[in-house]
Assembly symmetry: C2
Homo-oligomer: 206 residues x 2
């Protein structure tokens, strides 16, 4: 890889951790640039004009080009590696779990983690507060579906670690921050330990 890689991030975000974990597992060095999302640092005119017009992190910078969306950034890094299955079905199945993660998992588990741990219950709007029960139920449903899969399989796609596992791991392993009880999901608990044992694994606070 010839071009400098810079991760524009907020380190405690699971979405940003996905990209760091992928890079670590691949042994690819990345520079890190931190933005305080609570201070609106990803909504400044400079950020919107030069990094991501969607005002969000993570963004992976490759030379002078940018890839927003955590799972797309991971895909860029892992292109050609064993983290992306070569088999046609397994490749699409990996993407299936990554889209599931962004649609069914992240908006529930990551959002509740952010609301509870960063924003604070008292600072939520009425509409946000009213959504909590539905997000708790949808988050549990996502974890149950994962757990069911993991009673029969060690990994989400193919027969080895892939980006699907990395994407789902990021917010699952910290789901207790959002008051989800991981002890209720033994398949998930064992899978978390499998991922922690992978060579070059780094933790979210590394």
């Amino acid at each position: 890889m010839n071009e400098t890689l810079i991760l524009h991030e907020y380190a405690q975000s699971g979405n940003c951790y996905k990209v760091r974990l992928t890079a670590a597992l691949l042994g690819v060095p990345i520079e890190r640039r931190e933005y305080d999302i609570l201070k609106g640092e990803t909504r400044t005119p400079e950020f919107l004009a030069s990094v991501n017009s969607n005002g969000r992190i993570p963004v992976l910078q490759i030379g002078d080009r940018f890839i927003p969306e955590s799972n797309a950034a991971c895909y860029y890094l892992a292109t050609g590696s064993s983290l992306i299955p070569a088999d046609r079905f397994d490749h699409a199945d990996m993407l299936r779990w990554m889209f599931f993660e962004q649609y069914n998992h992240e908006p529930n588990i990551a959002t509740l983690r952010f609301w509870k741990g960063w924003v604070g219950f008292d600072n939520l709007s009425d509409v946000q507060r009213m959504q909590i029960p539905a997000k708790e139920a949808a988050g549990r449903a996502a974890l149950e579906l994962m757990d069911e899969h993991l009673t029969e399989r060690d990994w989400f796609a193919g027969d080895q670690l892939s980006l699907a596992d990395i994407a789902l791991f990021a917010y699952t392993h910290v789901a207790e921050d959002a008051d989800f009880a991981l002890a209720d999901y033994p398949g998930i608990a064992a899978w978390i330990e499998r991922i922690r044992a992978v060579p070059n694994y780094i933790s979210i606070d590394a």
Copy 2:
């Protein structure tokens, strides 16, 4: 392609249309199997056990295996075709727009279309009704971001039609069903016409 392809779908869903449009552009025949989501036909024990434990359509069946998630099903179909850019950056950039579609676009524009056109305002819960203004604002933000991109580029990723365009087209071209005014977005309007002119294009009601 040797195995029979079956699309488990609800035809009016933009997510299902994505898969049909991809197959049509590639000239790949698929069988169609219809479920009435308003009657809960994707939540039956049979469907959950044999098609998709997540209770959702579309699901692409390939022989006796299944790919849920619309964008992953499109990816399976288009593997090896020009609808997926060969260039590493463009490939990841295509996925970036497909994740954007599922995170920033579909939960706003598709959900409002479904609530307004299928469920009906009077049948919405209070929590759903309270979310309408935020979803309208987020839907407009997604359309503005797309329109800004399309003032400089003809397609979303690379320099030709890709799955990113198909994914975003599905609910954008029917956004007026959800009361979004497409006339406000001239870049989008021109891009919609470009897609309609592509050889083998089929409409959502074909």
